[in-house]
Subunit: 307 residues, 4 copies
Amino acid sequence: MDQSERLSRPKVDAIESLLGKRFSVLDDGFVRVVDYMGDDAAVVLAARVSYGAGTKKVQDDRALIRYLMRHHHTTPFEMCEIKLHVRAPMDTWRQWIRHRTASVNEYSTRYSLAIDASQRTPETEWRLQSTENRQGSSGFLDSKAGATLSAAENELQKHARKVYEERLAAGIAREQARKDLPLSTYTEAYWKIDLHNLLNFLQLRMHKHAQAEIRSFANIIGQEIVAKWVPTVWQAFLDYRDQAVTLSRMEASIISAIAAGKQDHAKSLAEEFGLLNRNPDGSLKANRERRELEEKLSTMGLMFNWS
Amino acid sequence: MDQSERLSRPKVDAIESLLGKRFSVLDDGFVRVVDYMGDDAAVVLAARVSYGAGTKKVQDDRALIRYLMRHHHTTPFEMCEIKLHVRAPMDTWRQWIRHRTASVNEYSTRYSLAIDASQRTPETEWRLQSTENRQGSSGFLDSKAGATLSAAENELQKHARKVYEERLAAGIAREQARKDLPLSTYTEAYWKIDLHNLLNFLQLRMHKHAQAEIRSFANIIGQEIVAKWVPTVWQAFLDYRDQAVTLSRMEASIISAIAAGKQDHAKSLAEEFGLLNRNPDGSLKANRERRELEEKLSTMGLMFNWS
Amino acid sequence: MDQSERLSRPKVDAIESLLGKRFSVLDDGFVRVVDYMGDDAAVVLAARVSYGAGTKKVQDDRALIRYLMRHHHTTPFEMCEIKLHVRAPMDTWRQWIRHRTASVNEYSTRYSLAIDASQRTPETEWRLQSTENRQGSSGFLDSKAGATLSAAENELQKHARKVYEERLAAGIAREQARKDLPLSTYTEAYWKIDLHNLLNFLQLRMHKHAQAEIRSFANIIGQEIVAKWVPTVWQAFLDYRDQAVTLSRMEASIISAIAAGKQDHAKSLAEEFGLLNRNPDGSLKANRERRELEEKLSTMGLMFNWS
Amino acid sequence: MDQSERLSRPKVDAIESLLGKRFSVLDDGFVRVVDYMGDDAAVVLAARVSYGAGTKKVQDDRALIRYLMRHHHTTPFEMCEIKLHVRAPMDTWRQWIRHRTASVNEYSTRYSLAIDASQRTPETEWRLQSTENRQGSSGFLDSKAGATLSAAENELQKHARKVYEERLAAGIAREQARKDLPLSTYTEAYWKIDLHNLLNFLQLRMHKHAQAEIRSFANIIGQEIVAKWVPTVWQAFLDYRDQAVTLSRMEASIISAIAAGKQDHAKSLAEEFGLLNRNPDGSLKANRERRELEEKLSTMGLMFNWS
């Protein structure tokens, strides 16, 4: 064995120092790093398997990582792996578990007593149904009305636990006694995933349209853990994915026209693409795709008046 | 295009006639076949891609399917696909969704009102905790005590629904209002999976150790649907997997000794393998692996007395 | 069973009429549709599982499919499935098989004689190494020099086949005799994949940076098969993915500045982002990311002079 | 942060000491461990997530691992991960890559020059086609005839390399120049997989029916690496999977009859199951399933005479 081939495992000090540390999320949840494999350099090393001996090092590590991210060369990012211990309400976990590319061991309420903790909602955190987005929320209920709901919540959670415990006292099997526990009941799991699939999870679950609860977990994982574990990958992710703007074929052509100062052409394109349909009274019909375009125009500092 | 190459999709009359039909499961759940791809012959066709032109047909279709099943040649079974529409309690669905190789679209309680139905337990169906198996049940509570539990269940489910509806009435977002719904609340999903992975699901969930609720679904899927869709594959599955007996290295050697009439050797092997450890009073210590061996011996009609 | 629940499998006439038809690719390859499940409407139906009874149909099917594609709601596209029979050179198949989400049965050269056909290169189709892209080609060798290479290729392929057949004649096992067959040897496979993962495959393999051989297969699958099978999905794929333009965080801010007429700001942003590093003689250093930005500016009809 | 929660990564001395070490396989291949995550105890820790606080430790770690393996509780084994660097002939790699649950970065012959090494067959290692198993080999060619084949192999490999280099000299793109390289050409890859899926790979590829070349790699990985990394898991794998005997429903019933001394009943069962069909002259027809049963009987030391 050639001494020059001796390896040691990559070690990231910033993540070593927080192994096992609980990051609190919601009222009684947490995320902890249990183990990890690889670092920024491990991504580079895997990508460089492609290069034969003697190939000169044409790009430095940072540039290579950013190139890989930009061009969707995803396999080198699979070469890093992380294992987390999480505690989350079952309702949040129902969304989490939809990501099929992770390995999971969850707390078993067939085997053990259900955790005696439910997520509770403070009086100021009852969110109102969004009128714009059928699957979203917008704003908060006033705290006085909120206090009523919080009290009712507390009562219901106590009632549900009491029923659970009465069943157990009667000798009912744990697997059946649990059947009416509220979705707010906390569960725990070990969750292991590679970096590529973790970034997919984070992009989706840190998104403003993700539900607030799982977004809280995703933000902690992204900003407190991944950003420290693989800082170069994380910055590339922010620059090329999370904060990137994707323009559809139609949007790209309309924005080109606007940027070129061809307002009339932009408008006729928008009409052709069905973005400017009108009501009988001449006003513009609501159109989700036009609203999305307007958001992008606004982000890019471009103004446009459709009329 | 060579006319001899014209294909039409394989069609299975027995499954065509039950497309869309609801098979009832539990008090308010169901399974329906929405679509399917392939049949017994499609498994054979895929396996035969291996054979060059002119290779004589050495085995008939049934024998080939049974050979593939027996020898774990799994890829041809992936060539069939089925899509089901299911309605199940969320508690059952939590187990179901752990199978990661399926495609899923689930009813969204962020987008829509939660289904107004919860699984209810009749007074005669409260199962007692198993003393042998920490994660199982065994026997039933007497129906008088059961009636009390069923009444309490009903009251709790009504309470939870009332709280849910009060939140909605107060304008709370559906995504948050649902947080204390009981796990017994019904959900629906489209679930699409290939035949190989479906058989894995069925082997696990039809097993006597699976929880009664999901076992009800698995039995319907296996016996009412798969058995009619791909009857030859189904019989092979029963013969070579579901009803097969696996002997560990240790079990195989002990059974060989018993079958050969070498009782003493069998016993000394069992001792060597740690199956016959004793308490201070000389009685055999409880040992799960020995109990499993005894079950297999009993299944095979072999008697043995360890002492 | 409610009669209103009777279903029949979705059927797409445009694809039924080409079941089994060979689409030729390269000199001796092909693609054929063997079976399929689902259609445009099946995507919609799966997405609509989310909607409770009584929800009014707020969007028509086309708009819904386009919304799903635009917002990366990928699971409904998994509800369609297709099975192809392909014949491709092993070298191409080596790239193809890297897509792990498909089911595959490949022709076995352990079991059967290797297919007696290799991909041959006409004298006009020898591609020159790209100087810009280390893993690409650009332009063609002149046909006179090409003729020499084609003749040498022919001779090598014959030599390799002769050695293969001599081994078989000597009684060598097929699994070993094949070991020196050229990568150009044709192989065949059944390949089954869901629509979502097929679109991922097509986006990557129809891309101008994909190797010409696999691009030929991808183009046929996309334009001759998918476009006919699920025309609404296909158009949405072209509009929102294949022909979309993604701007990185940095590109979006530079383009905003250019579009707003703030040339100096655009330039100072580009400097800040490291796109305008210079050589000692003052000329701009080569920079891949700047070149990519310039391509996008050009696509969008925006002009910019960095100096 | 509670000090009691501080973790450090599990470390396995036996594997640390061989990180980077090349294990030679075939004439010019190798396997090296690049990185790993987890150990025997990590499997246990994940399985114990199920246990609530205060649950007494009913089983020691070894017994728990063996229980999990025996009962196909596979998810805890996914909690360990290993990354290997391998060098193997492309022909072997074609089989290897069929395992879809791993992460892979392979040496790119689009980007770099193909590795200048092909697997060569010594004169004594030409394997003869098995007559019993269409996809296997049995015995060796005599070394004199082998020498002729080895010389022809050497000549062909040189010829193929010369053609490859002439193409490159003519400016042909690497992606096309490689098209006629022999399957025996070596390639390299980083290959990362979790322990559960690695054991599946090993069970299949260490099997006596696996091709000799990939079996060489599998044996090294199993015996030199996994056995040292997770020794308790490895022993459980050998005892409950690799060396286990699976009896089909039919085999179990026949063996029960034999073991009970009911020879006639065993024979009539075998007839009923179609294992004893006869030729017109009264001799037994060849029957693969009967042969498999006879092998198991022989393994178990049971004798039986069908006539």
